[in-house]
């Protein structure tokens, strides 16, 4: 699962990496790509290393330490049960990466073949697939996710499935649009004239040429999925307590925000940073793959 997420963070997107390969003279590192990629990498590090360097147990209740402000011993303070906010934030980020990566993986796994099929097969298949997707797109994404959660119940896995289903039609559309565009390219005609079959053309030629738009879309969706997921957890339709989750942290903190504002501000800012990283990354990747469009 995390493979997909780290796949977004291309090695040359990080701030520490060298200049891009010389043969890509037109593709240049841009500020969005560097900042977004760097921030995403940093958050991934917090999620992975945070629990290792922080000695607190994310679920250890300590009433005597409840609602302590940020200090040397608790970097980001403690929540209403005296749990360390930093370690819960790190765990929340881990959940966020799982949700983001899982959602995108699901969307790509179902959406890409669907889009390819719609673009490559005849117009009847295309029509059927697209009309069904249209109906799914007629639901606001969050509403569709709520519908799925109603059927399969709450929880992290359910949340991934719910948001994944809500976004599959979008991925399929991007794939289809991109495949339709490349279909008119001469190299596709050339392949066809060499006698390559529909499936072969789809997999060997159309798919690789759609990688750019798909990666851009995937990056944006990681951020969107986590925003949606946090919202659903917040209202009780997502991740269940006591699992550390950024949306849940906000929900439980809201009763204490007058006296201890950090219990709300920390998770809210955390979600925002996560979404910011992937929004910027998506922007940056867009510019990377399509430098002419960017301005």
């Amino acid at each position: 699962m995390s493979l997909v997420a780290t796949g977004q963070l291309r090695p040359d997107a990080g701030p520490a990496s060298g200049p891009p390969p010389a043969r890509r003279t037109r593709r240049r590192l841009n500020p969005s790509l560097v900042v977004g990629g760097g921030l995403g990498l940093l958050l991934l590090l917090v999620a992975l290393i945070g629990p290792l360097v922080c000695s607190y147990d994310p679920n250890a209740v300590d009433a005597s330490a409840a609602l302590h402000g940020p200090s040397g011993s608790h970097l980001l303070g403690t929540d209403e049960l005296g749990r360390d906010m930093f370690i819960r934030l790190a765990d929340g980020y881990r959940a966020a990466f799982e949700i983001g990566a899982g959602t995108v993986a699901f969307g790509l796994l179902i959406g890409v073949p669907l889009g390819l099929l719609a673009a490559s097969a005849g117009s009847i298949t295309d029509n059927i697939i697209m009309r069904v997707l249209d109906v799914l797109l007629a639901f606001p994404a969050l509403i569709l996710a709520v519908l799925v959660v109603t059927i399969i119940g709450a929880g992290e896995g359910a949340l991934i499935l719910a948001i994944g289903i809500a976004y599959t039609p979008v991925i399929a559309r991007v794939m289809r649009g991109s495949a339709m565009a490349t279909r008119r390219e001469t190299f596709i005609d050339a392949a066809r004239s060499r006698g390559a079959g529909t499936l072969r053309i789809a997999l060997r030629h159309t798919l690789p040429n759609s990688v750019g738009p798909l990666i851009v879309q995937a990056s944006i969706f990681v951020g969107v999925a986590v925003l949606l997921g946090a919202g659903m957890s917040f209202v009780g339709l997502g991740v269940r307590p006591p699992t550390p989750d950024l949306g849940l942290m906000l929900a439980s903190g809201r009763d204490y925000m007058t006296t201890s504002p950090w219990v709300v501000i920390v998770p809210a800012a955390a979600i925002m940073l996560f979404a910011l990283a992937f929004t910027l990354l998506g922007d940056g990747l867009q510019t990377w793959f399509d430098p002419q469009r960017a301005r």
Binding site: R131, V132, D134, V135, L136, A138, F139, P140, A141, L142, I143, V146, L147, V148, V149, T150, I151, G223, L227, A230, G231, M232, F234, V235, G236, L237, G247, L250, R254, M257, T258, P261, V264, I265, P267, A268, A269, I271, M272, L273, A275, L276, T279, L280, D283, R295
Partner: protein, 312 residues
Amino acid sequence: MLRRLLLAVPMLIGVSIVVFFLLRLVPGDPADAVLGTNATPALEAKVRHDLGLNEPIWVQYGKWVAGILHGNLGHDYISSQAITDMLRQRLPVTIELAVLALLIAVIGGVTLGVLAAVRQGGIIDSFARGMSVLGTSIPDFGFGLVLILGFALTLQIFPTSGYVPLTQDFGQNLRSLILPALALSAGFGAVLIRITRGAMLDVLDEDFIRFGRAVGMSEWRVITRHTLRNASIPVVTVIGLQVGGVLGATVVVEQVFALPGIGALAVDSVLNRDYPVVQATILVLAVMYVIASLAADVLSTVLNPKLRKAVA
């Protein structure tokens, strides 16, 4: 125009099928959900009969749709209240909230997008692009809580939660909705900044803009009468698509501000396993979205002379 309206019909049928049949996939017997722990075989049989659960599923679907067309969405499991009545109370809240949020987002987003494009590369442009990225990233419920913290709890300008009906007191009604609408508008306004800016820049590159300048039009006229007019076509289309996001987000934002709208009802009914209400709320939200995108579609067609005649 008629063709487009007719195209919405299969869409609505599709939506109703998805809502009806997907909710039948819920594990367990609806009768159990009604009866809870009081279930006895005899009672169960009676409830099944009362709910029409013994009939073929297509018949049940047909009856459900026929009921909707007659304004009857059934009763909820818990209090046996007519769902139509519940919706009648809650729909105005959600519609008002969504409209207010759209209004804030459109006014703010379009203005910033236009200014950013006109002064591309300037301070306003940087500010607008920053706002756009920030607005896309900010979680609406988190933003809502921060707004409550700042404006309701600390400054005490607005109420923290609750809803005053429009018919009761207009001023108080607006006061009760302004923070939730702001929270709801952030993400949507951010998209509009970006789309408006892009559309304006595209149009500003067009030959007819250069020609307008060549014949001595003032910059104001070039921007308002020609650039904005042409850019409005893609912007309106995007507004229609974004209504879905706004409606979806009401689910979360109504919860934050304890507003008695459809979104909050949807959440409550899912948590209470009150399936007829889940069904009804999800259907209503989806139908609202279909209608909004249809309206945007029609409007952007009317705005575009190249499509207008084909439609009329």
